[in-house]
C-alpha cells in the first residue's frame, strides 16, 4: 500500500515527488512512457519566466513569481543548469508602449524584482542583432534558462534516492475507489493520488469522477534549434509585445549555448508532437522580424511540444471532490517556472489531508544536501580532466565528438536512479547526439554502450518511445 501515487513524471510530478520524499511516506511515480520527462517537459522554451506576464490575481501569476524565486536553491540542491540571463520584451509604437506598461504594472503587483522599461539606445546596446525599429523593451533581470528535462530527471532521481519508486511503461487506465483507498490498474493500492498527467490530466480524473468540470485542450508549439555556432546571436531571452504580430515567438540562448527559436501556437490533438511546413514557416518569419540576420541555416533540429490548455484558463491545483485525489492539471506555460511553487503548494495540500486524517505528515527525514552532480567532462579544467581519467579510465573514451561526452558519463547516466534507457534518454542527460551531427557519429557507439550496460540485445535498443527500435534486425533472427 502506497501513501501517495503520483501519475505523470513530468516536471510537475517529479518535483512533487522530490518534495514529498523528505517525509517518511511510501511514494510511487507512474509514467506511461519509457522514461521520465517525455511530455511537455521535454519540448518547451526552457525559460524560467520572471513572472510579470500572467495576471497578478491568478494562480499562474502567483506561482510563477514564487517559483522563479525558488530556482537558485533548487538548482543548487538538484544540480541542474540554471542561469539568470534576463529577458526583454521588445516593442515599437504607442500601442506596444501601453502593453509594456501594463505588463510592468502587473509585475509590480507580484513584486517581480528589477523590472525596468529601457529606451532604444540601451536595448540596441544590449542586443546588437535585433531589428533597428524596436524602440523600447521591458527588462526583467530575474528571467532565466534551464534544461527542463534535467530538472525533472534530477528531481525523480533525488526522490528515488530517498526511497520513492518509479514505474515506467505503465499507462494508468483504471482507478477504483474502495473505502478510503484507491486501486490503480487493478493492482496498485494507495491511500492518495496526485494527478500530474499533463495533457491527459482530464482523462485521468475522468476515470474516477464522471462529472469532471474541466477539460484540457492541447496547443502545439514548434521550434528550431540552432548550432552552437549561432551562440552569441542574442544575450537575453527576447520576446515581442503581446500586441505585436507573431506574438509568442521567442529567441533565446539555451543552457548549453545553442539558440532556441519558437514556438507558434496551434490547436491540435493530444500528443500530436509533429512539425509542419506552415508552423515552421511562421516561426521563421517571426524570428526574422525580431532578428533580421537570424542564421536559420544553422538549424540542427526541429521539434514540437504540446501545452495543456485548461478550459478554466488557470492552473487547477486542488484536492478534488474525491477525498485523497489531488489534481495538478492545466499546467500550461509558465508551468516549468512555477513547478517548484506548484510542488510546494501540493505539499501543503497533502499536509492538510494528513492532518484531517490524523496522520501528521512530518517530521521530515534527513535528506542529502544535494543530488550528486553529473561530471561533465568537457566543462572540466585540464587538471580536473587528468584526475577524472585517473579515477575512471572510461573518461579517456570520447564517444561524442560534437559535445565531447565520455563513455564514463554515459555509463553513469544509465546507472543512476531514473537512469537512461534509450538513445534519446542518454542524449537528454549527457548530450551525445545533441550537437551538430545529431548522433551521426556517436549513435552506433551509444547503441553498443546501452546494450552492454542494460544487458539487452543491440536490436532491442530504442531511440525514444517504446517500440522505436534503432535497428531493424529483431532479436529472434540471431
Amino acid at each position: 500500500m502506497f501513501d501517495w501515487v503520483i501519475i505523470g513524471a513530468g516536471v510537475s510530478g517529479a518535483l512533487i515527488a522530490q518534495r514529498l520524499s523528505a517525509y517518511p511516506l511510501k511514494l510511487l511515480i507512474i509514467e506511461k512512457e519509457n522514461d521520465v520527462a517525455c511530455g511537455a517537459t521535454k519540448a518547451n522554451s526552457a525559460l524560467i519566466h520572471a513572472g510579470y506576464d500572467a495576471p497578478f490575481d491568478s494562480l499562474r501569476g502567483r506561482l510563477n513569481a514564487e517559483g522563479n524565486a525558488m530556482y537558485d536553491d533548487l538548482a543548487e540542491l538538484l544540480k541542474f543548469p540554471f542561469k539568470r540571463i534576463g529577458s526583454l520584451v521588445l516593442g515599437v509604437g504607442a500601442e506596444d508602449y501601453t502593453a509594456l506598461t501594463k505588463l510592468y504594472e502587473n509585475g509590480l503587483k507580484l513584486n517581480i524584482p528589477g523590472l525596468k522599461i529601457l529606451d532604444q539606445s540601451r536595448i540596441h546596446q544590449m542586443e546588437p542583432n535585433i531589428d533597428p525599429s524596436f524602440e523600447y523593451a521591458l527588462y526583467a533581470p530575474t528571467a532565466g534558462i534551464t534544461e527542463p528535462w534535467e530538472v525533472a530527471i534530477a528531481a525523480c532521481e533525488y526522490a528515488m534516492d530517498q526511497g520513492a519508486k518509479l514505474l515506467l511503461n505503465t499507462e494508468v487506465t483504471e482507478i477504483v475507489k474502495i473505502g478510503e483507498h484507491f486501486i490503480i490498474n487493478g493492482a496498485i493500492e494507495t491511500k492518495g493520488i496526485i494527478n500530474a498527467a499533463g495533457v491527459h490530466a482530464d482523462d485521468i480524473y475522468r476515470l474516477i469522477d464522471g462529472e469532471i468540470s474541466f477539460a484540457i485542450s492541447p496547443r502545439r508549439g514548434e521550434y528550431f534549434l540552432l548550432d552552437k555556432e549561432a551562440g552569441g546571436l542574442v544575450n537575453h531571452i527576447l520576446f515581442t509585445c503581446p500586441t505585436y504580430k507573431g506574438k509568442g515567438t521567442i529567441i533565446a540562448p539555451t543552457a548549453h549555448g545553442n539558440i532556441i527559436i519558437g514556438p507558434n501556437s496551434e490547436k491540435v490533438e493530444k500528443d500530436y508532437v509533429n512539425t509542419t511546413f506552415e508552423g515552421l514557416h511562421d516561426v521563421k518569419q517571426n524570428a526574422l522580424k525580431m532578428v533580421p540576420n537570424c542564421p536559420l541555416h544553422l538549424n540542427i533540429a526541429n521539434f514540437s511540444g504540446v501545452r495543456a490548455e485548461p478550459s478554466t484558463g488557470d492552473f487547477i491545483i486542488e484536492e478534488s471532490r474525491i477525498p485523497g485525489f489531488i489534481n495538478v492539471a492545466g499546467i500550461k506555460s509558465p508551468g516549468l517556472s512555477a513547478a517548484p511553487a506548484i510542488a510546494k503548494m501540493v505539499e501543503s495540500i497533502v499536509s492538510d489531508i494528513h492532518s484531517r486524517r490524523g496522520t501528521a505528515l512530518g517530521p521530515m527525514i534527513q535528506t542529502p544536501i544535494s543530488r550528486r552532480a553529473r561530471l561533465h567532462f568537457s566543462e572540466l579544467s585540464e587538471a580536473e580532466k587528468i584526475k577524472a581519467i585517473a579515477q575512471d579510465a572510461k573518461h579517456a573514451h570520447i564517444v561524442c565528438r560534437c559535445e565531447q561526452v565520455t563513455e564514463a558519463e554515459i555509463i553513469d547516466a544509465i546507472h543512476r536512479n531514473a537512469g537512461a534507457r534509450t538513445l534519446n534518454g542518454v542524449k537528454r542527460r549527457v548530450r551525445p547526439g545533441a550537437g551538430r551531427c545529431q548522433g551521426g557519429f556517436c549513435g552506433p557507439k551509444v547503441v553498443a554502450i546501452l546494450a552492454r550496460e542494460l544487458g539487452i540485445h543491440r536490436n532491442e535498443v530504442e531511440q525514444e518511445r517504446k517500440g522505436s527500435f534503432v535497428l531493424s534486425g529483431g532479436v529472434q533472427d540471431e
Binding site: N274, L280, I300, A396, H397, Q404, G443, N459, E464, S472
Partner: protein, 422 residues
C-alpha cells in the same frame, strides 16, 4: 616518451595516411599520426564497394583495399601511430592535446600540424523535413557504418532523400542486403552523385530517381511508418497536388557533407565560405603558417585518389616547412570564382615552395553548381585573360581539375578570378 615531433597529422583516413608517410620519407623528420578510431583508414573502412584507386594505383580497388595499402606504408615507415586518441585542441599551431584510451591525457608538440579530420554528414535539421521524429531516419553514412562495420540491419523498406554518392551506394547496398529500396528523391533537377553511381546503383536495380522532389512529411509514432514526397517548383517549394506517399520503415539522408572543422574553428583559422573548410594555398598551408590541411577537411572530394594526391603534397611541403628556419614572405594570389562555381580549392596561390624553389604549376579544383554540356573556363586577372579552356560535361558531382601555369601569373596581380562562359 618523447613528445616532440616535426610533423603531427590529425586523422588517420586516406589523407592522414598519405600525408604522414610522405612527410616521414624526409630523413630526420619525426612524424606522429593520431586517429580517434581503433583502426586507421577513416571512412574507407566502411566502403566495401569498388571504385577506388583507378587514378592513384591504376587499379580498381575496394575502399578497404585502398586503405590497406596506405596502412601498409605507414607500418613500414617510422611514423608513430596513436590509435583511439581524440585530438581535443591545438594551441598556437603547435601544441596538440589528445585524449587516448591507452595513454590518457597527452600533450604533443609539433613543428607543423597537418589537419586531416575528414568530413561529416549533414543531418535532418539542415534540410528541415516536417513531421514526427520516429526512429528509422539515418544519415546514409551512419547506416553504412551500421551495415558494413557493425553487421546490423537498419531497415527493410527504405527511401532515400538526396542523390549524393553515399546515398546511391547505400541504395545498392541495402538492396543487396535484402531490403526494398523504394526510391531516391533529389531536390535539384540533377543528381549530385557520380554518373557511374547513378547507373550502377540505381538504374541496374530499377530504383526510381525522383528529380526535383523532396520529402515533405514524415509519419510514425515510434518507428518510421510512411513518408510523403512532392515535386518542387523553381524556388524549391513543394507543389501541392504532386504528393506521393511511400510506406517505409527507413529514410536515409544523403544531403551533403561538411568538413569536420571543430579544430579549425577553435584555432580561428580563416575559413572559406564555399568549401566550408580552412582557406589553403597550393602548398596546403592554412592561414596559420604552421598548420596545413588536406583531404575532406579542406574540401569535400568525390574520389579518394585526389585526396591521396593532395595529401602527399601536404606531407611533402609540411616536412620541408618543419625544417625551414626562415618563413616564406611571398604574398599569395587570391583565387576567386564567379557565381557558376560552388567550390574552389586552393583559394591562395604561391609561386615558390618553402625552399624558395619556383613552382611551375598549381592544381586547381572547382565544382560547378549545375550541369553544363559544354562551357569555357576562363581565368582572368583584372581584365587580362590568363587562361581559356574548353570543358565538356561539367556536373556538380565531378570536380573539374585544371593545372594553372604559375609562370603566366602577372607578378603584380593580387587576385585571379575563374569565370564560366557558356
Amino acid at each position: 616518451m618523447n613528445n616532440k615531433y616535426d610533423v603531427i597529422v590529425v586523422g588517420g583516413g586516406p589523407a592522414g595516411l598519405a600525408a604522414a608517410s610522405e612527410a616521414a620519407k624526409n630523413s630526420g623528420v619525426r612524424v606522429a599520426l593520431i586517429e580517434r578510431d581503433a583502426f586507421l583508414g577513416g571512412i574507407l573502412n566502411q566502403c566495401i564497394h569498388t571504385g577506388f584507386g583507378l587514378h592513384h594505383y591504376k587499379e580498381e580497388l575496394t575502399g578497404t583495399e585502398y586503405a590497406h595499402r596506405g596502412i601498409m606504408s605507414i607500418e613500414a615507415s617510422s611514423v608513430d601511430v596513436y590509435l583511439e586518441a581524440m585530438v581535443m585542441s591545438i594551441d598556437e599551431g603547435h601544441t596538440v592535446t589528445l585524449i587516448s584510451q591507452t595513454l590518457g591525457y597527452v600533450k604533443l608538440w609539433g613543428g607543423a600540424i597537418i589537419l586531416a579530420m575528414g568530413c561529416r554528414e549533414r543531418a535532418r535539421g539542415s534540410v528541415i523535413i516536417p513531421g514526427t521524429r520516429p526512429s528509422g531516419i539515418f544519415t546514409a553514412g551512419t547506416a553504412q557504418r551500421y551495415v558494413n562495420i557493425e553487421g546490423d540491419q537498419v531497415g527493410k523498406r527504405v527511401f532515400i532523400l538526396g542523390s549524393g554518392d553515399i546515398g546511391l551506394i547505400m541504395a545498392r547496398r541495402m538492396t543487396l542486403e535484402g531490403a526494398q529500396v523504394l526510391g531516391v528523391a533529389e531536390l535539384m533537377p540533377f543528381s549530385s552523385g557520380l554518373t557511374r553511381n547513378i547507373v550502377q546503383c540505381l538504374e541496374d536495380f530499377d530504383i526510381p530517381l525522383f528529380l526535383s522532389h523532396t520529402v515533405v512529411k514524415i509519419e510514425g509514432e515510434t518507428r518510421l511508418e510512411q513518408i510523403t514526397i512532392a515535386k518542387v517548383d523553381a524556388d524549391y517549394r513543394p507543389i501541392s497536388g504532386t504528393e506521393k506517399t511511400f510506406a517505409c520503415d527507413t529514410l536515409l539522408l544523403s544531403v551533403g557533407l561538411i568538413p569536420e572543422n571543430e579544430l579549425s574553428r577553435q584555432m580561428a583559422l580563416e575559413m572559406h565560405a564555399l568549401t566550408r573548410g580552412p582557406v589553403i594555398n597550393n602548398l596546403m598551408q592554412t592561414s596559420m603558417p604552421s598548420v596545413f590541411a588536406c583531404g575532406n577537411v579542406a574540401q569535400v572530394h568525390d574520389l579518394v585518389d585526389h585526396v591521396s594526391e593532395e595529401a602527399e603534397r601536404a606531407g611533402k611541403h609540411t616536412a620541408i616547412f618543419s625544417k625551414t628556419v626562415v618563413p616564406m614572405l611571398e604574398k599569395a594570389i587570391t583565387v576567386e570564382t564567379d557565381d557558376a562555381f560552388g567550390m574552389v580549392s586552393p583559394q591562395k596561390l604561391v609561386r615558390f615552395d618553402f625552399e624558395n624553389q619556383p613552382l611551375q604549376t598549381a592544381a586547381l579544383r572547382l565544382r560547378v553548381k549545375k550541369p553544363y554540356t559544354s562551357a569555357w573556363l576562363v581565368i582572368k586577372s583584372g581584365d587580362v585573360q590568363l587562361m581559356r579552356l574548353r570543358k565538356n560535361h561539367l556536373t556538380p558531382g565531378e570536380m573539374v581539375h585544371i593545372a594553372v601555369d604559375l609562370n603566366a601569373m602577372p607578378l603584380e596581380s593580387e587576385t585571379i578570378k575563374v569565370y564560366l562562359e557558356v
